[in-house]
Symmetry: C2
Subunit: 425 residues, 2 copies
């Protein structure tokens, strides 16, 4: 990632690459409303973003949350993406339309309105929502706003859409790449532990690459596994997480190259989500190696990176390595993974802190580790753009097996508690 | 629990019941030392507590952490409790003796010194530690302190020992009961998520009840399952958790009645640990019912109670019920437990917030829930004794199965982050 010194420079960098690939058009809008369930009558502002494809797409793919109480958008999208054609997506923030009375009907009403205005059938459209769980969409007002947005299709680029879907994100997430003559563009908003109450990670890839629909599904699923499934969301799968890939399928590409390209964008966006997470003051990168399989490595890496004790210590720039060992041993014990302390080797940055069956610590090393943590910190005041791409690297080698993986997570800060203790007020 | 209005009244209440059962004697002491690994040279004060049994016990039982990187005290105790006799336990705070170079030898040196002074073999004694992981015990100074403590045996009661093993606990935990003519007394210090860096929950039961050794092990294991394994430690098993039950075995008892008695004490101590946890501002009690088995119910209840989003919302007195549903669905999805939203019913206190497939919310209900949360709060300023025994009750009914359980947990507060961000400094 390039380094930026102002929000303006950062936004200009994004703007220069934010034209949609061939075949897509977009518009954004906003409404003001007072949620019926909210104690206070102060209005909320809801952003709407509409992205359409003309002609309707026949190449699209989706990966959805495994949460057992999914929201109406997930239920509807799972069903509709089995169909033949996709003509557009309406995305709103502020209310996630999860388990709300009449949630499915509300979503269907919005897609029906889109079909009426733009053409096609209601089932060719998706309504995607992120925000508070449990409350109902202000569906009358949303529907009233649609005709003007349809008229303005083409007026918004991908950066405008990335802005519109933000909730507590403090800057938009957009990544692009070229794959031969084809373009791939991805936008995202935050997730789970990182984007908590909103409880939704939304990611959309738009491309003009000519791939088969079944291939795209496979490529997307694999890219998600090594990116969004490798960030610390506390094991969280929100009620509304979804990653969609949509292609106008006009530019011939090398499929393997396209797969790599999509994987890289997914990893970059996953990193962006963690770095701009609520209250993130350090990005932690935990690598676990030498286990029997990758799944075990991922279990242990997530155990370490999700430990509130490890997270608070990193926040305090305190290299409390005992907590890493405690979390590692706990995670192994709870998941039936055997560890041999004699084989264990733990490194933080370039310092070895555990080897030969025990800790290897002294005053000078502790001081160097404190400096390393301080140097990796993000300054909460400067949140309008990514300040740097440094991470706190924890490398854990458990033996001679081939299973290994890397997981990204965030620390646990006062900023996190403050944002989440009274999020809705 | 009775209600107390001052620390003095609370301590007097405990003191009046803190004599050890027949057969046990104790002494406490302290040393000042500067850990070799610590950047600063400021000294730490370490408390020592010695409890001995004369004659040595033949009835004792233990339940230990499943952490795969256990501390030297756990490794040694597991082995020694397979032996015939137990004559005494030395307990220290501040340093947990986990994966420290020569940790086992250090513990053996201490128990050897006890054997030499008191009689019996080194293997008849245990060295139990709680505190920072990774650093080494100041074993020379500890050994020097032992002769005076042996001389003073009998000078300390169980409340003194409960005090000595405290780390960030702000008051001692002691519970007692009578079972016919026998007495049972339990002391504890905090745990895992609740007592984090110290990363150790230590519980000791002392009794004179005449039970068989195998029975005691079974009774203890069952009591632990319904108490300490049902508090929110984030699934945490620290490197040093242990629960021991020691009996001088002189008073005949009804075994079933004794088992019930031990279970109740264990549940009370578990509750005490959560209520006095680091930064606990609310005790949350989550009950999950109607599942196929108790294990599934426990998985979901822990999923809800360990969700950082649920915890921060409760801290902020914000009845953000969407987060409960998100955590429940996530936990079910991640663990292969099916949920039917149509069967789901969620109650907070006396308010139904989810039923008939959707949320049941309105402004007045939200206001009543806010009041309920505020009324359940603990005042951080008044931490020298338990202020009240109120809990935030979340009752989740998932269907018609018979599997159900209740789990206790704490909220996630600024106090928690502060205590853990710079615990060692």
């Amino acid at each position: 990632m390039e380094c930026f010194h102002s929000e303006a420079a950062w936004l200009e960098f994004l703007r220069n690459q934010s034209a949609f690939p061939v075949g897509f058009r977009a518009a954004t809008g906003a409404i003001s409303f007072a949620p019926a369930e909210r104690p206070s009558d102060d209005p909320y502002t809801m952003n709407l973003a509409l992205v359409t494809a003309e002609p309707p797409l026949s190449v699209f793919a989706g990966v959805f949350t495994r949460n057992q109480l999914p929201g109406a958008p997930v239920i509807l999208a799972r069903e509709r993406m089995r169909g033949d054609a996709l003509a557009g997506i309406l995305i709103n923030n502020k209310i996630s339309n999860v388990c709300a009375p009449h949630g499915i009907q509300d979503a269907e009403r919005l897609t029906g309105a889109l079909a009426q205005r733009i053409g096609g059938r209601s089932r060719n459209y998706l309504s995607v929502s992120t925000g508070i769980i449990g409350w109902s969409l202000p569906v009358d007002q949303m529907e009233d706003r649609l005709p003007a947005m349809v008229e303005q299709l083409g007026s918004a680029d991908a950066l405008d859409v990335a802005h519109a879907i933000m909730t507590t994100d403090s800057y938009p997430k957009l990544r692009t790449a070229r794959c031969g003559d084809a373009r791939v563009l991805g936008i995202a908003k935050g997730a789970g532990m990182i984007e908590p109450d909103l409880a939704t990670m939304l990611v959309f890839f738009f491309t003009d690459a000519l791939v088969q629909r079944a291939q795209l599904q496979q490529i997307l699923a694999s890219a998600v596994e090594s990116s969004f499934n490798r960030i610390s969301v506390d094991g969280d799968q929100s009620t509304s997480d979804m990653v969609l890939a949509l292609s106008s399928a006009v530019q011939p590409v090398d499929t393997a190259q396209f797969a790599l390209c999509l994987q890289q964008l997914a990893q970059q966006l996953a990193h962006d989500i963690v770095r701009n997470g609520e209250g993130t003051c350090h990005v932690i990168k935990a690598t676990v190696r030498g286990l029997h399989d990758e799944r075990s490595a991922a279990t242990l890496a997530k155990g370490v990176i999700n430990s509130p004790l490890v997270k608070t210590a990193v926040y305090g720039n305190d290299p409390n390595v005992g907590r890493i060992v405690a979390a590692l041993g706990d995670s192994a014990g709870s998941n039936g993974i055997e560890l041999d302390p004699g084989q264990l080797r733990i490194q933080i940055g370039t310092e070895t802190v555990f080897a030969d069956g025990g800790f290897q610590l002294d005053k000078e090393k502790e001081n160097r580790l404190c400096s390393y943590l301080r140097d990796s910190a993000l300054e909460p005041a400067l949140r309008g753009y990514p300040q740097h791409d440094r991470t706190v690297d924890i490398d854990i080698s458990c033996g001679s097996g081939r299973g290994e993986t890397t997981v990204l997570g965030s620390d646990l800060s006062h900023e996190y508690v403050s944002e989440n203790a009274d999020y809705r007020t």
